[in-house]
């Protein structure tokens, strides 16, 4: 698994719960190092082991944890770069939803060896969508649910999100738009490059 993903999990734990908790996670997962490198490829078995250890150490259910990580990655000030990159997907939240199909390709454009699960958006009406997420590991659906929740907030949209479980190796997240101008858009300045 790509270091960016593992590093994201590490950032979530250290920024939200402190470095001591992260050390407990690395011990529990049996890692012989404490810091993930963002631009490094790790064995695929490492990520599930780390996630299981995070659940143990923080005493939180897996699904809830994945959703929180997703929200953290987009909404935390320290990882502003990711929010901006996602905002390139569309001017409105609905444009953004439609851009999700391209997300794995966009990610690979930036980091060639970064593999994200294939995503597919189904539009059932102007207000109702469902996102199909073909992740290799269970739980990506919850992570994207967290990402969507944070992005809805970013666009100032009120949306109801519901994880519908999985069928045939694909997790389904239902998205219902309740109000498209619920709060003010956090804004996206095309030229304001974040470092």
């Amino acid at each position: 698994m790509h270091g960016l993903i593992n590093r994201g999990i590490q950032r979530f734990v250290t920024d939200s719960y402190g470095a001591a908790k992260w050390r407990a996670v690395t011990r529990s997962a049996g890692l012989d190092f404490t810091d993930f490198e963002a631009m490094w490829i790790y064995d695929d078995a490492v990520t599930p082991a780390v996630l299981a250890a995070v659940c143990d150490v923080l005493d939180r259910p897996y699904e809830e944890l994945m959703e929180d990580i997703g929200t953290f990655l987009v909404s935390h000030a320290k990882v502003e770069a990711l929010r901006r990159l996602l905002r390139f997907g569309g001017v409105t939240f609905i444009d953004f939803l439609h851009s999700l199909d391209d997300l794995p390709d966009r990610a690979r454009l930036a980091v060639p060896d970064l593999e994200l699960p294939r995503l597919e958006l189904m539009e059932r009406s102007a207000e109702e969508y469902s996102l199909r997420c073909y992740g290799e590991h269970a739980g990506w659906g919850y992570l994207f649910m967290g990402v969507l929740r944070a992005m809805a907030d970013d666009y100032g949209v009120l949306a109801y999100l519901d994880h519908k479980g999985s069928e045939g190796g694909c997790e389904i997240v239902e998205i219902t738009l309740l109000e498209t101008q619920f709060a003010s858009d956090k804004g996206f300045d095309l030229g304001a490059r974040s470092a």
Binding site: A81, L85, V91, A110, G191, A195
Partner: protein, 316 residues
């Protein structure tokens, strides 16, 4: 973005993005007063521009900072009018923040926003790689600090010697500690240069390694200071023989790049068995005092420590 020009080259209409990039107002201005056409060079007036419909134009603003644009001129939309389609090319990255452009300023099929995404994503990825390099650099410096080898001579360094000395004391094994120091080394360095100095240190290292056994420890602990731990023996005669052999060889001329380097060495020695409770500080301090006595007695001397040397070296 585009502008429409009348027959004599005056801007009649400017699209919303074109208006943004020239806040003084384009309408009514002569096109060639605002933009300078850099290529094709033949275009010097409006007639020659109108003759080049479909050609790729390189333009720049007449006003500083003379931002560059690309363009193409076409006839229309009305008879006698010309339309100039403009774009920023790769200077778009700066133009976007300068003119506060948004996604709405680009056509749905225009890939500019994708390009901006890519620039930003690549910068973020580069930044992450850059941080990795920085961390590796720090790790390298740390590793060097923790290293046990003196990189110039291949001998053990001060750290390694401290560690070995502590180890051997705690094992309560018999051993001898020699503190050696070179005479005239500074002169070699000053007159023949650092390369000669480095050569001498390497030669000295070889002599000391040759004259001791594998189990013994030879360390360079300072510029031209060495500590030798001779394990398993406290025999004065044997130790003195080793020391004398080293001193003799140090005194032989060494040739470096056609120059002859002359140095000599002095050695002060302590025997661990002479102490009921040897400690590293005590042994090193007394060996230093013995070395001091050896130097005072003349060059190329080997001296065993005697308790009266402690006060002697302190007074000096």
């Amino acid at each position: 973005m585009h502008v429409v020009l009348g027959r004599c080259g005056t801007v009649r209409f400017a699209g919303p993005t074109a208006q943004k990039i020239y806040p003084k107002g384009l309408i009514g201005r002569r096109f060639l007063d605002v933009f300078e056409i850099k290529r094709p060079r033949e275009i010097t007036d409006i007639e020659s521009l109108y003759d080049r419909t479909g050609a790729r134009l390189n333009l720049r603003f007449c006003d500083p900072p003379h931002r560059q644009l690309k363009g193409v001129v076409m006839e229309g939309p009305e008879v006698g009018q010309m339309t100039v389609n403009l774009s920023f090319g790769i200077s778009i990255v700066d133009a976007v923040s300068e003119y506060k452009l948004t996604a709405a300023d680009f056509a749905a099929t225009d890939l500019t926003v994708e390009m901006l995404y890519l620039v930003e994503a690549k910068s973020a990825a580069m930044e992450a790689s850059h941080q990795l390099n920085e961390r590796l650099q720090v790790a390298r410096v740390q590793a060097e600090e923790q290293a046990l080898t003196d990189t110039l001579t291949g001998l053990r360094n001060r750290r390694a010697m401290d560690y070995e000395l502590a180890e051997i004391i705690s094992e309560r094994q018999p051993f001898t500690l020699m503190h050696a120091d070179l005479d005239f080394f500074k002169a070699v360095n000053d007159t023949l240069g650092h390369a000669a100095g480095d050569f001498v240190l390497q030669a000295v290292a070889k002599i000391m390694t040759d004259e001791t056994r594998e189990v013994d420890v030879v360390a360079r602990v300072g510029g031209d200071e060495f500590v030798l731990l001779i394990k398993g023996t406290e025999d004065h005669i044997l130790i003195d023989r080793i020391a004398q052999r080293i001193i003799k060889r140090l005194g032989e001329p060494m040739e470096f790049a056609g120059d002859v380097c002359r140095i000599s060495g002095s050695i002060g020695t302590v025997i661990a068995g002479d102490y009921p409770q040897p400690t590293a500080d005590l042994l090193l301090g007394d060996a230093d005092a013995a070395l001091y006595a050896a130097k005072n007695a003349g060059r190329s001397m080997h001296v065993f420590f005697q308790p009266d040397m402690r006060t002697a070296s302190k007074i000096a």
